[in-house]
Symmetry: C2
Subunit: 345 residues, 2 copies
């Protein structure tokens, strides 16, 4: 998609520079996997309003910031966040390195491999697992372990790499906004260091544009004669709920013009975006397609790993505030790049 | 300088596109305020090594990151950091709002206006003043107060705005690196929120490329029906010494290829930069020009506000590690944009 857009634009600019009429260029819809409807219209209208020179709501290029939640917004989050699966699968190696953990909860339960019991672990236990498996190594070691895991792990339903489970329509939104001068950021409750490992390859988003839950790192000039950073079990930023706005301030220092989410954990980011002046866009992905992906919400018992869901209260907020709700079922004619079937409505 | 470069480049590209030979364009030295010497040569050689296609040390554009300390590296830090002056001058307003502080140290001493006594305050007292004057307001209030102060405050020696006291040769380095595809970051012990207020106007560096000492902010959906962020007296990141590397990891997530500093507070950032593979550049500004700026170092009694200095130990590190020491006296033929006199050596 990026290549097609770049080609189209280059032709147009060259033609303009040379003062010759541009030849008929095949018009490629940058949002081809979106059905016509209110959601697609809102996207196109927002870009028109903020990028048309002379428009009252024109936004200078430097201020064009768009923020995207990841889990459930850019890729599949069911039945469990990919990063949580990663952490659970790191536990055996952790217990091998620290045998004293074998009889300590929650590691003991994880070591049984009993998925039902693991899913029932309280949130505090989950945090213990995350803290223990995401710290104690150098940043480089961690990056290499995550890369290795992403290459071999497969999700339980499609038997594909987690990085293949991105939503094609959202990838098109990322490209579309970037082609219109927007800087795209991920603002995720997931680990900043984790997502940065693959964000460039998967989303075209460089590490410095990933804001996430961040643990401390410690700088040491090691005995090896080489300085290194070690990941510490210390929480610097919980990038969920109000923490998303605080993380945006810390790392970006600007209010977004567009924000995308799918759960209560994104509500504050959308409120903060909405509160800015001029044309703003807030969108929420609603998972209502059990056939092609999942249908879930408050009615369904969600596993322990869910920190935010699309509640009726969030739905009411969306209505009240003019946030656009994206129906996966109705607004997206394709969900995944690997699935070529097109469901026009 | 930016306008000149942009103009030159546009001409060249247009000529290339149109297939006509480019007219003789006046060659403007992008580092005109640098005397020929080892420092200037190191800059030019670094850019050549990392941006020449096919060079063994070529660096892809996305990875071209350069980090700059601010105080003493990009602008004057004597006799006191501008931000510390700001905080001291905020104390009367603070005491007016909270009269109970009038008889509490260190506010009591600051209220006397006795500069010698203020300069003698221990570092802990300074932190108390910073914490109290840099928190308790919304982010927007803070930004507006800093802007107002910067417009009216004058430094004691040149009677100019602090933002005029930037070093012209370093402004040229920023432009030169950017013209060669580098993303320039400020990595400062100063307040991230403070520096972000003027970094775009003064250095051409957008807020998201300023890493600094950061306090927490708290997101609240106020009674006003509008969400806002309040600055809290809670330290998130002390962006000095090892903290600079930790801050680079937090906000940028990449190792710099070039790093510039002037004190022991920058040593770790330079070590970390140096430890990367390929061609790297580390430079330290030495303040050895008492006539045109200041000459200072360990021999001189430094005010309480100095957290890092160019010590003999740092000098030894520079020698050992191949860091380039910039002599303001010998390497710079001009210091400030407002001073047109040129001292060629």
């Amino acid at each position: 998609m990026r290549r097609i857009l770049a080609h189209t634009f280059t032709s147009v600019s060259l033609a303009a520079i040379l003062g010759i009429p541009s030849p008929a260029v095949a018009q490629t819809d940058p949002l081809a996997s979106w059905n016509d409807g209110a959601a697609k219209k809102a996207l196109v209208e927002f870009v028109r309003a903020t990028t048309t020179q002379g428009s009252a709501t024109f936004v200078p290029a430097a201020e064009r910031i768009a923020t995207f939640d990841q889990d459930g917004t850019l890729w599949v989050e069911q039945p469990m966040y990919a990063q949580v699966v990663y952490c659970l699968e790191r536990v055996p190696a952790l217990v091998k390195a620290k045998p004293e953990l074998a009889n300590v909860e929650p590691f003991k339960t994880v070591m049984t491999g009993d998925r039902a019991a693991i899913a029932k672990l309280p949130k505090e236990d989950l945090y213990k697992i995350l803290g223990a498996t995401l710290s104690g190594m150098t940043v480089e070691q961690f990056q290499s372990e995550v890369k290795q895991w992403l290459a071999s792990a497969r999700d339980p339903r499609w038997k594909r790499r987690y990085t293949e489970l991105t939503y094609l329509p959202m990838m098109q939104v990322l490209e579309y906004l970037r082609a219109n001068g927007y800087k795209t950021y991920i603002v995720t409750g997931g680990g900043q260091d984790f997502v940065r490992v693959y964000a460039q390859d998967v989303y075209g988003i460089p590490p410095e544009q990933v804001v996430g839950t961040a643990g401390g790192v410690k700088y040491e000039y090691g005995k090896t004669g080489r300085p290194f950073l070690t990941k510490e079990p210390k929480l610097l930023l919980n990038d969920n709920d109000a923490g998303k706005v605080e993380g945006i301030h810390l790392v970006i220092g600007r209010r977004p013009y567009a924000a995308f989410g799918n759960s209560t954990g994104d509500q504050q980011m959308l409120e903060y975006t909405r509160a800015g002046s001029g044309a703003r866009l807030e969108m929420l992905v609603l998972h209502d397609d059990a056939d092609r992906e999942y249908a879930y919400g408050p009615a369904q018992g969600l596993p322990v790993t869910k920190v935010g869901v699309f509640t009726p209260a969030l739905f009411a907020e969306a209505k009240k505030n003019g946030w656009v709700v994206i129906s996966m079922k109705n607004d997206w004619n394709r969900i995944f790049a690997f699935d070529k079937s097109v469901a026009k409505r």
